[in-house]
């Protein structure tokens, strides 16, 4: 399979904490990868390094097979990688439109923004995802929205760009069953359109259902890489996870 992004032997420390230790992962075109691990295992740090928010202390990054230097968040987005961060990365005082287009505004020449067009697209996107109430319009501030609705805005941002890889960091946390189902539908649509997903979750059942393969992270290290064929059920995956945690 054609590689989209590959991290090679990446390490990252925070003030004495070894958050990532010699981690290598590769995401290929059209696959859904589930990244699992206990709280604090380094999942968020790994994806933030992947999408250029954190610079790794050592290791290298390849995009579609080419080595890149000075990898950062803007480069990642321009390379077709969109992220729904665990904290959702929203600006609550700004409108839904401005949040959806944050950092990738549609512009006229000289940097003036196509506000009307953005509003139209934003309204269509939030209706498409269906996480927001029908009454809400795209010019309302994000601060007035519920947790599920905010997640909808973050997801809308990830899809308008038609990214080739969408990274979702615990996107179903604090969502209702109905809302969770909508997120799964979204992941299914992305996969069916031939694009890739890196899905992080600590609900093993959720991750099992939607992923083609699994990466288990423990205390900053990859301890298992499994294809779905190797794990016959979510319970088996759960057991593998439990065993590693017991081993501490």
């Amino acid at each position: 399979m054609r590689s989209i992004i590959e991290l090679k032997n990446v390490s990252k420390r925070f003030a004495g904490i070894k958050a990532l230790n010699d981690v290598s992962i590769k995401i290929s075109a059209g696959e859904v990868v589930g990244l699992i691990g206990d709280n604090g295992a380094g999942k968020s740090t790994l994806i933030k390094t992947l999408v250029g928010v954190h610079a790794p202390d050592s290791g290298s990054i390849e995009i579609r097979g080419d080595h890149v230097e000075g990898w950062n968040a803007l480069k990642a987005r321009n390379a077709g990688i969109e992220t729904v961060f665990q904290d959702k990365a929203l600006c609550p005082q700004q409108s839904i439109v401005w949040n959806i287009f944050m950092g990738k505004e549609l512009t006229f020449p000289f940097g003036f923004v196509r506000q009307k067009e953005q509003v139209k697209i934003a309204n269509r996107l939030i209706r498409e995802i269906g996480l927001t109430s029908e009454l809400i319009d795209a010019e309302a501030p994000v601060g007035n929205l519920s947790g599920g609705e905010r997640q909808g805005v973050a997801i809308a941002r990830a899809i308008f760009n038609e990214a080739e890889l969408i990274v979702l960091d615990e996107p179903t946390n604090n969502l209702s069953l109905n809302e969770t189902q909508k997120v799964f539908d979204f992941v299914g649509n992305v996969k069916n359109s031939g694009r890739s997903v890196l899905f992080i979750g600590h609900n093993i059942y959720h991750v099992y259902d939607i992923s083609d393969r699994f990466i288990i992270l423990d205390r900053g290290e990859v301890i298992h890489r499994l294809n779905k064929q190797e794990v016959s059920s979510a319970e088996k995956l759960m057991k593998i996870m439990r065993d590693t945690i017991k081993g501490h």
């Binding site: 928010v53 968040a73 987005r77 904290d87 929203l90 609550p92 950092g103 505004e105």
Partner: protein, 325 residues
């Protein structure tokens, strides 16, 4: 479009609440003056003095709205104001064409702003404290290098630029038109340009902005630069109007300009601000400065009333609620 006609009025009030609030204070102040001293109020030269003062303030205050919205503050602009006017006056004295001297003054403001911004952003310093340091540093430099003496530019009005910048059309000071153009430009820059929108995002949630690929440091440094440029233009306009550069120039504007930002409805916490509100903030300040004396009160009352207005305005803006998170 149907949807457009269906937008209810409250939406408009909600979205523009802070700007409308400051318009309210402005109108209220006018009303108080009008009732308190109607004969002074109908004197045209009172309004004329206000019209001379307002443009200067506007060039300083509008960029400050950007900076405060980005989550930073600057005090050094009051000295940049003096420094740019000094550079302007020195170059003209040295025989440089005033047009190029003006350009050099603007560049000085931009450079000082960028430097202050870079020191704060890369040094991770408190913008309040660091810019306070720069405020004294530049002012000190001005006193030392001018020996506390002013520079007079007597023939400056013979240059073609003079009537264009600070002349009169139909009795109206031309700088009012420049300030008006600046306001319109700043309004679109703030609300409809990538720079202004990023200023909002950065002030609202720096971490989110960075995660979305916005260069937070660059946005902040540009906002500091904008403040420097605004202060430079204001400083040089003042020097043109008074034919003089004086080393204390701009010091008195420090607190007035900041007061206008906050009276104008831009909150201190970042992420939101209003250009239109700031105009009314400037109006309040300018009429207070000139009006209190004009209605026959001693100038010593001026600061007292300024203080009162600031507090009342802040309490009023509280109605728009706390920061949403």
């Amino acid at each position: 479009m149907l949807a457009k006609t269906k937008i209810p009025m409250p939406r408009f009030f909600h979205k523009n609440g802070r700007a409308l609030g400051s318009m309210g204070y402005f109108l209220l102040l006018m009303l108080v003056f009008f009732i308190g001293a109607p004969e002074v109020w109908s004197r045209p030269n009172l309004h004329q003095s206000v019209f001379v003062m307002m443009p200067t303030l506007i060039f300083m205050v509008i960029p400050l709205v950007f900076l405060v919205t980005s989550g930073e503050i600057d005090l050094s602009f009051a000295s940049t104001y003096g420094l740019s006017a000094y550079v302007f006056a020195l170059l003209i004295k040295a025989g440089i064409d005033p047009f190029f001297a003006f350009a050099a003054g603007v560049c000085t403001g931009a450079l000082v702003g960028a430097t202050v911004g870079a020191i704060i952003v890369f040094g991770r310093l408190s913008s309040l404290v660091a810019s306070l340091g720069v405020l004294f540093l530049i002012r000190g430099f001005l006193f030392v290098s001018t020996n506390s003496r002013s520079i007079t530019l007597l023939d400056i009005d013979e240059h073609w630029m003079y009537p264009m910048l600070v002349g009169k059309v139909y009795g109206l000071p031309v700088q009012v038109l420049w300030a008006g153009a600046f306001v319109i430009f700043a309004y679109y820059l703030f609300n409809r340009h990538v720079f202004g929108i990023h200023v909002h995002h950065v002030g609202d949630n720096e971490v989110s902005a960075a995660q979305m690929g916005i260069n937070v440091k660059a946005v902040k440094i540009k906002a500091f630069m904008f403040v420097g440029i605004g202060a430079a233009i204001a400083g040089m306009f003042t020097t043109l109007i008074t034919y003089t550069f004086f080393p204390t120039q701009g010091f008195g504007y420090l607190l007035l300009a900041l007061a206008a930002v906050f009276i104008g409805g831009t909150p201190y916490w970042g992420g939101i601000g209003t250009v239109v509100g700031a105009i009314f903030g400037v109006g309040v300040i300018a009429y207070m400065e000139i009006g209190v004396v004009a209605v026959g009160m001693s100038g010593t009352w001026r600061q007292f009333f300024n203080g009162l207005i600031i507090l009342l305005a802040l309490l009023g803006h509280r109605l728009h609620g706390d920061r949403v998170r």
